[in-house]
């Protein structure tokens, strides 16, 4: 799953730490999500999208390879 959190953060002018505090996770978690190392839970994704006042699918997008996972 792709995301454009980094871009949305730049638009909102907030740091990883600020976003982390707003959604109640550690800064490492935001860092890992931005780097594509960690796929956030549904609740956390929706919280992040809500901070940016965007729709879920504007911040997070499925990738081709997501369809192959778990097979």
């Amino acid at each position: 799953m792709k995301n454009n959190i980094r871009v949305e953060r730049a638009i909102k002018r907030i740091t990883q730490q600020q976003l982390a505090s707003l959604v109640g996770v550690s800064r490492q978690t935001i860092n890992a999500i931005e780097a594509g190392k960690y796929i956030p839970s549904t609740v956390l994704s929706l919280k992040i999208a809500s901070i940016f006042e965007k729709d879920f699918s504007e911040v997070f997008q499925l990738e081709e390879k997501d369809w192959n996972k778990g097979k």
């Binding site: 740091t15 990883q16 996770v25 550690s26 978690t29 956030p40 956390l44």
Partner: protein, 152 residues
Amino acid sequence: MKKYLFPHQFKKIGWVLLILSILAAIANLPFGWEPSFLISEPINIWGLDYSFMGTGKNYFDELYSIGIILGSILVAFSKEKYEDEYIQKIRLEALVWAVYFNYIIVILLIIFTYGIDFPIFLMYNVTSLLLVFLIRFNWSLFKIRKVENNEE
């Protein structure tokens, strides 16, 4: 998973208990040191003598063995300062990894140790799973904290 973890403050208590117990084990196992006041005396109840862990036996080794187990459980299973879903994923991965690693060691011991050596190694195996988990988990946390400074 959060409901099975101890509060974050217990981590410090665990470290103190674990380090003291490991120091006690180091003093006791190779050097044979043990405090003399820990020798078990029979307890007299209604005219009968009951002994606790064997009369006349020093129970220093029992104490630090329990200390190592309880200490490492507290350190391993206390919440991190921010115990969020990503930390929990890392925790689970470290736990699975530690179980595999530990039992690979056990299998090697079964194959390569004989006679009296085997139960001695199994004695260490009581705590090795937790210690391997601790090392692996903290190493993963160290790695993710190290890369955190790549923010623009």
